[in-house]
């Protein structure tokens, strides 16, 4: 729309016609306070805080409902306006309990800030305040009714934002309260958006309430460790007896791709880090067959010796390595480098949740065709094939809903299930569970491939008419099906794709070559010349064993050693413990998982919230992970891999090229309470190394990644500034050749599960239990 010029407090401003005055003022740095107004949610005009004086208009007007017009003259800070705001706050404080000293929100409360600003410091009312008891609505949501100022933001975000509609206003007038849909409890997705959006301390979370004051925390912006969406989250961290603990997950700066959104896992499921079963001492299996705690050096020596003996006696082919979906890119990269150059094996794999390799191969020669998570909130049309984003990719679902709500985006859903996003879909088709490939053939024009009806035909026509389309597909698509889908997509104008996989860095594990046949950047192992040059070793050129083959080999007694980093394949793949009885097993994990319990050595590892590095979400958005928490007794996987390599005889410098002129980022790796610096210093001095860049610094290896995986060569400053960087150039440079086994095993996590990690999140388990408990019908009285 055309720009209009108007005057606010004497300043000449310009904004597109129709812009809400409150937004136009904000853009110009003029604060117009509001409680009920929230950007991108429906205007409510209920709190009356944003009243301003418009010239030639008799009454004060609400800035949240007034669009700017040409020549409009506005005053936002006159005595009259200030008085109106003060009076409104006085009214709110009339019934407010003023329990600020103990309120969670104290210190970051919008009502406090407004009271401070407008000086409603005197109480005009002497009558007794209305009191109502606090309510617990769910395992995570509490509602302190007297604190509520009835701004209805929670109602709006739950309804329009989440499409859950679990909140509403009950009763009327001064007796109005917010009420949950289950009368006394919530029946919802437990996302906690209502808590996040609450301007006061009325809605609080079980994980945070009465735990601390906001100013006692450090706020560290990092990336959620759970699903593949990679939401930016701000962790509230406080010093604890054994390091520093996370006590809150929220979305403070809202600068991430996820915008306002965080789901239950991002918000509450950080508690695994403080689980009582967390390992804090290295364990080594003793002569009596039991695992017992030993010193770090002893454990490292023991593990290195076992791996070295296996390599020296039987060769790299007798060693297997399993990487993680939740470690950083740097760790994944280092792990495969360690496997290939130190252990001498291509037997490396991870739990694959999507066929990223096939996806990357299909996009060879088509740079910029991968959709960022950000694209989903602006794209005019989206074709969603398979997957259930509401459960598996909550941030994607949020983006899609928001896009439909704000931009009337057209969503086309083809799924074998009745997924919730159908409610936002312009058209939806139900497919047989195995009918996805046929449906794509049908979309591409092969009528006989899929038995369609008029609705299916209309669906196809509508999709084909789109001038710009995003195609997101789930793990229903693998290998050749992905190839066919991409080929179909590329036949349409302006198409971008997204391959939906399950965990925080599943994508990174694949991109970084934690695969038996592909090196970082999907370079086939037999075309590894460039890597051999960099690694300075002769690398194994034969594709290695995949994850299942490794366990088969172990069962046959052919796998002498196995190194598992941050994974639990025994539980995930239902491996028989007996299969590993002759294998020397080294495991790095937070817990004594089903896999770790079988190990000969277990190293207590730090999790993604306790380390630095980068991760890549399933859309190819690269983000910085910052160290937030710290758990005494644990170490980052990165450090452990370097130490093992060194103990096996590799020069640390060959593993982590920290001496090659890499300067940046010292300090990035260390959280505020980190004790790492001291540890590093001791080790560095002992090895006659410079202090300026630690070999345990993941960024020391990032240069190498950027060099060897050109797609990762993104602007580094922006990344380090905490912004997401979408991978723009194509990943695959060299033809990956023959058809591969895709080995995809979808995690099938829902909103309240998160693989092994979910098992150690008490909060997730509690919510899960509360959501699966079938309410028993009330007992009928016996006659």
């Amino acid at each position: 729309m055309a720009d209009v010029t108007f005057t606010v407090d004497g300043k000449k401003l310009t904004a597109p016609a129709g812009t809400l005055l409150i937004e136009a003022c904000k853009a110009a740095g003029i604060e117009v306070p509001a409680f009920c107004y929230y950007p991108h949610l429906a205007v409510q005009a209920a709190c009356r805080m944003c009243t301003v004086r418009l010239e030639k208009v008799p009454k004060l007007q609400t800035a949240c409902t007034t669009p700017v017009t040409e020549g409009m003259v506005v005053y936002t800070d006159t005595d009259e306006v200030r008085q109106a705001r003060k009076a409104t706050i006085e009214l709110l404080l009339g019934n407010h309990p003023l329990d600020c000293p103990v309120c969670d929100k104290g210190g970051e409360c919008e009502l406090q800030d407004m009271t401070f600003k407008y000086g409603a410091g005197e109480s005009k009312y002497v009558e007794i305040k209305q009191h109502r008891d606090e309510q617990q609505w769910s395992p995570v949501v509490y509602y302190d009714r007297p604190r509520c100022i009835l701004c209805y933001r929670c109602v709006a975000v739950c309804g329009a934002g989440m499409d859950v509609w679990a909140l509403a206003v009950e009763s009327r007038g001064a007796r109005s309260v917010i009420a949950p849909n289950g009368s006394d409890h919530l029946n919802c997705e437990e996302c906690g958006m209502c808590i996040d959006i609450c301007p006061v301390g009325a809605l609080t979370s079980d994980t945070y309430r009465y735990h601390t004051r906001p100013w006692e925390m450090n706020h560290v912006a990092t990336v959620c460790t759970h699903c593949g969406d990679g939401c930016k989250t701000t962790l509230g961290v406080r010093t604890a007896a054994d390091g520093s603990e996370i006590i809150r997950g929220n979305n403070r700066d809202k600068s991430g791709m996820n915008g306002d959104f965080l789901c239950i896992k991002g918000r509450y499921a950080f508690d695994f880090a403080n689980h009582t079963e967390r390992l804090t001492k290295p364990l080594v299996r003793q002569a009596d067959g039991k695992l017992a705690p030993v010193s770090w050096e002893e454990a490292l020596d023991f593990a290195a010796r076992g791996l070295r003996e296996a390599r020296d006696a039987k060769g790299g082919k007798a060693i297997g390595v399993i990487g993680s979906n939740r470690t950083t890119n740097e760790e994944n990269y280092l792990l495969q480098k360690f496997a290939r150059s130190v252990l001498g094996t291509n037997n490396i794999d991870h739990h694959r949740t999507a066929d990223y390799a096939a996806f990357a191969a299909a996009l060879k020669g088509h740079a910029g065709r991968e959709a960022s998570l950000r694209d989903f909130v602006t794209a005019p049309a989206i074709l969603l094939l398979g997957n259930d984003p509401t459960e598996q990719h909550p941030a994607l679902a949020w983006q899609l809903r928001t896009n439909v709500r704000l931009n009337h985006a057209r969503i086309y859903v083809a799924n074998h299930r009745d997924i919730k996003l159908r409610r936002q879909a312009k058209a939806a088709v139900t497919l047989p569970q195995t009918g996805y490939a046929q449906f794509v053939e049908y979309l591409a024009g092969k009528d006989g491939a899929f038995k369609g009806d008029d609705a299916t035909a209309a669906f196809r026509n509508a999709v084909k008419k789109e001038e710009s389309l995003l195609i997101a597909f789930g793990s229903e698509f693998r290998g050749r099906d992905i190839q066919a889908l991409v080929a179909f997509g590329l036949s349409l104008p302006n198409v971008k794709f997204a391959c939906l996989g399950d965990y925080a860095n599943s994508r990174g594990a694949a991109d970084m070559g934690v695969l038996p046949d592909l090196l970082p950047g999907y370079v086939p192992v037999d075309k590894a010349a460039q890597f051999a040059g960099e690694y300075g070793n002769s690398l194994p050129a034969e594709p290695g064993l995949d994850l299942v083959q490794m366990f088969d080999a172990a069962g046959r007694g052919e796998l002498a050693a196995m190194y598992v980093v941050g994974a639990n394949p025994v539980a995930r793949y239902g491996i028989d413990a007996a299969a590993l009885k002759d294998t020397f097993l080294v495991v790095q994990d937070m817990f004594l998982t089903e896999t770790a319990v079988l190990a000969d050595v277990v190293f207590p590892a730090a999790n993604l919230y306790e380390k630095a590095g980068t991760v890549t979400n399933t859309y190819g958005d690269l983000q910085l992970v910052k160290k937030a928490a710290d758990k005494a007794g644990t170490r980052a996987d990165f450090e452990l891999i370097v130490r093992l390599a060194e103990k096996m005889g590799a020069a640390p410098k060959s593993m982590v090229p920290f001496g090659r002129g890499v300067r940046a980022d010292v300090g990035q790796t260390r959280g505020a309470q980190s004790g790492e610096a001291d540890r590093h210093a001791v080790w560095l001095v002992a090895h006659h190394l410079e202090l300026k860049l630690s070999p345990f610094d993941p960024f020391a290896i990032f240069d190498e990644i950027q060099r060897l995986v050109p797609a990762y060569n993104v602007p580094r400053l922006n990344l380090l500034a905490g912004n997401d960087e979408h991978l723009k150039s194509e990943l695959v440079q060299i033809d990956t050749g023959a058809t591969r086994r895709d080995m995809v095993l979808p995690a099938n996590d829902g909103l309240y599960t998160s693989g092994t990690l979910g098992n150690y999140s008490a909060k997730l388990k509690e919510v899960l239990a509360s959501h699966t408990t079938v309410t028993k019908p009330a007992e009928t009285a016996a006659d």
Binding site: A45, Q83, L91, K124, Y125, S171, G173, S176
Partner: protein, 437 residues
Amino acid sequence: MPRLVSHPDEVKITSRRFGLGATDIEKYIALDGYKAVQAAIAKGPEWIIAEMKASGLRGRGGAGFPTGLKWSFVPKQSEKPKYVLVNGDESEPGTCKDHLIFLYDPHAVIEGTMIAGIAIGAKLGFIYLRGEYRYLLKIMEKAVADAYAKGFLGKNIFGSGIDFDVVTQTGAGAYEVGEESALMESLEGKRGVPRIKPPFPAVVGLYGGPTVINNAETIASVPHIMLMGGEAYAKLGTERNGGTRLFGISGHVERPGVYELPMGYNLKKAIYDVAGGIRGGKKLKAVVPGGSSTPVMTADEIDVGLDFDQMGKAGTMLGSGGIVVLDETVCIVEFALRTIQFYQHESCGWCIPCREGTDWLKKSIGRLHAGGAVDKDIDNIRYLAENMLGRTFCPLGDAAAMPTIGFVQKFRKEFEDHLNGKGCPYKHAREEEAALV
């Protein structure tokens, strides 16, 4: 059934069929019923709107917006269906005129709805009665059924090729839904809170369609205007205030009741002549002239014509035409308390100034009436009301604030008489009176 009153000064237009059995459709037809709609069909929308404009009819709900003008705002072309909506959510204390219309002349409402529908090109009309008028719903429903049976409603009405349907609905007992946009929310099955305006109902109304929403009396006046002509109707009243109006005179008068008087009729005459003066020859203390939300007038201020403009000039409002007369035995503080109790109870709670303001006004005035206040509290009450005025989402906040400001402004002495533990000075007199009864 209420006792009908009458006075020679009355000009019976809208009330002319009251008491004549017009709930019976045959009787209604005999009394010129359904002639107006046929004339309207014959002459077409432009003629209807021109006559309405000429009539000077202003909305009888209380805001007094010119009806013809309102109808003319409805866009001729609309993708969404257009609707006519009759606001029978008569809830303003002191007001009971629509009640009589539903009771005695339900077909006039139906006929008026049809004419409005023809004027704007709507095919569906809703007649919305307040929840407490559920017992009148039967009468309305029977009238609608009879009109259908006669073929007056439904397909091809009066052979015109026009289809028109009428649906009745009641509220659930909220004053707030008398506000037009809240009424539409309620009718749509949602919580009865008002909508943000603009857009106004004429553009985006019920179910998102262009909607004309008029008070029941306004709608019931329409057939008469069609029959007598807009100009003739206008001449009955004063300038810019056409026609007649149903005034409900209640309180301490000898002959309380609903009287149809020409617009501009003198308020003092209405009280002393039409309604027979103050009961028992007592002294007049105050008049609330147009429903409880209008600012109070003292006995000295009532020599004024009852139309929107003259009342506005007098510093109050014509409002809903519910004139409440208070004699010297009334405690103004208690009356203010009763008034604010109503608004506190009826505030929908959507916006802060109204939700919290009415609550604290009720508490503060209640405490003052009981003697628990000091001088500063009177200022606080006024401060509170003044800070509600013009700040709320819908006019309910003003409706609570305006009378409160009026009471404090004009009867401050009575407030002061309650202070510092003294309590209500009228309590004794009132108790004596109660004992006599």
